[in-house]
């Protein structure tokens, strides 16, 4: 391999019976990158992570982690990767310390090394005073933090985060991202992320949108947003049919949700004030803004061309 690839897949495929969960996936992710795999529920994101971490075997195709073939030596792969599962992997009846000591022993870390590492990580997460606390007494965000600490105890080269902030409130989500950022900065690990909260993926170096086991669209978040459109125009109207008839010839078909229409506008010299006057009383409200990752998601998976208007 010419480049320093943390993750590479060739035609990676997973079938569950007749269902194709992941279809001929080709990925190349360079070492040190922050990579985001985005897509709707059931798109095959978790299955992809499970194949890359030896939790499930690929039906066909091959994957490499840090140059090592995944199917050749699963134990070596598990030593190289860290995985934070979508659901907690911790024992709720044990304390933070017992959980992390147990996980460290599973990674064959000597007790003194493990202790130092646990101290280090708990202070990153601000949990150093809670080390002896039982897991049940922690908040959801704190438990997630312990789960992430568990995933990086052995300083993996590649860290997989499967929906790490799912079910957490905004402050907790923010702090989880601060921790991940710090871990990335301090230890230079490659991070492979799946998430539903698309705004969180804006920090990624590269994102791919994934649906029905296939990559749909990918690139740097900034570039993707620029490519999508210059502006997104959102209109709320009691007569959507009229507005669609009026604006589609100019901007193309919108994404429609009942009385809300969303147009993507490629030209960056549209006079929105003029447009507002033209539409006049036929609309209740309109606003225009720069596109974000949510728009890319919507236009990739719910666009009128796809015939699937949400």
């Amino acid at each position: 391999m010419a480049r320093n690839l943390a993750i590479k897949t060739e035609g990676l495929t997973k079938k569950f019976g007749q269902t194709l969960a992941v279809n001929k996936l080709d990925l190349e992710i360079e070492a040190g990158q922050f990579y985001g795999l985005l897509g709707p529920n059931g798109a095959g994101k978790s299955t992809t992570i499970h194949m890359l971490t030896t939790m499930t075997a690929a039906t066909s195709g091959e994957a490499w982690i840090a140059g090592q073939q995944v199917s050749a030596d699963p134990v070596a792969i598990r030593r190289t990767v860290g995985l934070v599962f979508q659901d907690s992997a911790l024992d709720r009846t044990m304390s933070i310390d017992e959980n992390l000591q147990f996980a460290a022993a599973m990674y064959n870390l000597a007790p003194d090394v493990a202790n130092k590492r646990i101290d280090e990580l708990l202070s990153v997460f601000g949990l150093q005073d809670k080390r002896k606390r039982k897991l049940v007494s922690l908040s959801g965000g704190q438990r997630r933090a312990v789960d992430i600490a568990r995933g990086v105890l052995h300083k993996p080269k590649v860290l997989f985060l499967d929906e790490p902030t799912i079910g957490l409130d905004l402050p907790n989500r923010r702090s989880i991202w601060r921790f991940v950022e710090q871990l990335r900065r301090d230890e230079g690990m490659t991070v492979f992320l799946t998430t539903h909260y698309l705004e969180e993926a804006a920090a990624c170096d590269h994102v791919d949108f994934f649906q029905q086991g296939q990559l749909q669209r990918g690139g740097k978040p900034q570039q993707l947003m620029q490519q999508l459109a210059a502006y997104i125009l959102e209109v709320n109207t009691p007569n959507p049919e009229n507005v669609i008839a009026q604006l589609t010839p100019i901007f193309g078909s919108p994404i429609r949700e009942d009385e809300d229409l969303s147009f993507k506008i490629s030209a960056d010299d549209v006079d929105f004030h003029q447009l507002q006057q033209t539409l006049g009383d036929s609309i209740a409200s309109m606003q225009w803004r720069k596109p974000n990752l949510n728009d890319i998601y919507l236009w990739t998976f719910c666009s009128p061309e796809q015939g699937k208007i949400a």
């Binding site: 529920n41 299955t47 995985l83 659901d87 044990m94 990674y107």
Partner: protein, 259 residues
Amino acid sequence: MSWRPVKAVVGREMSKLFRQRARLISSMVRPMIWLLVIGSGVGSMLQGSQQDGYLTFLVPGILAMTLLFAALLSALTLVYDKEFGVMRMMMIAPIAHYWIVLSKLIAATLTAMVQALLLLILLLVMGLISVKIALALLLPAVLTAICCAAIGGLIAVWSKSIDNFAVIMNFFIFPVFFLSGALYPVNQLPEYLHYIVVINPFSYGVDLLKHAVPNVATDFSIMTDITVLIGFSVAAIFIACWQFSRESVHAPLFQRMSK
């Protein structure tokens, strides 16, 4: 392969065993009920010297029963950990997956032995056995514990959920226990039941324990007992490890997550 992960898995089970002292004590209630209620009840139907003889006859049986229940329940943690997610922590660890089964079965054997020792102490205090008999029972108890852990492992790796395990256990545990010679001599059973006793590996554990108690009739030779116990345990553990290493076993764990 380093022993640290194995020690961690076994240590976790042991610390749970000693943490739940109430459960440990209550595990002594079942054999005591058998011994005192059934033993005295059935014994009262017997005549004269046979009465005391039946209590002595029951000692290997209830010791074997304690080992069976303890080992099976401990092997259940293979399913339990899957249900509650902790299994993920072991699955992602850099060890071959069959080591998870082996560690759990070591823990199951040790758990069974801890309960067996408690029971032996109780029996000593009650004056039902002598120190010499208690010591003679130890090695047969270890072999029986391994055999019971192997049975538990075999059931656990084929159970998709705890409910599933409970059903299979109810299906298994009573036939395995009742048709083992633990409660009555095998040679008095009708012929068709006799065959079941012979193919029941647990019978050989019960029989080996009987060999350690003087004046208790046995059904097989010591060599047969040891050969069957070791042979069955090795084969069962091997099959359990093989089945656990197959991905389909964990499909419920991961398909639930990939929703």
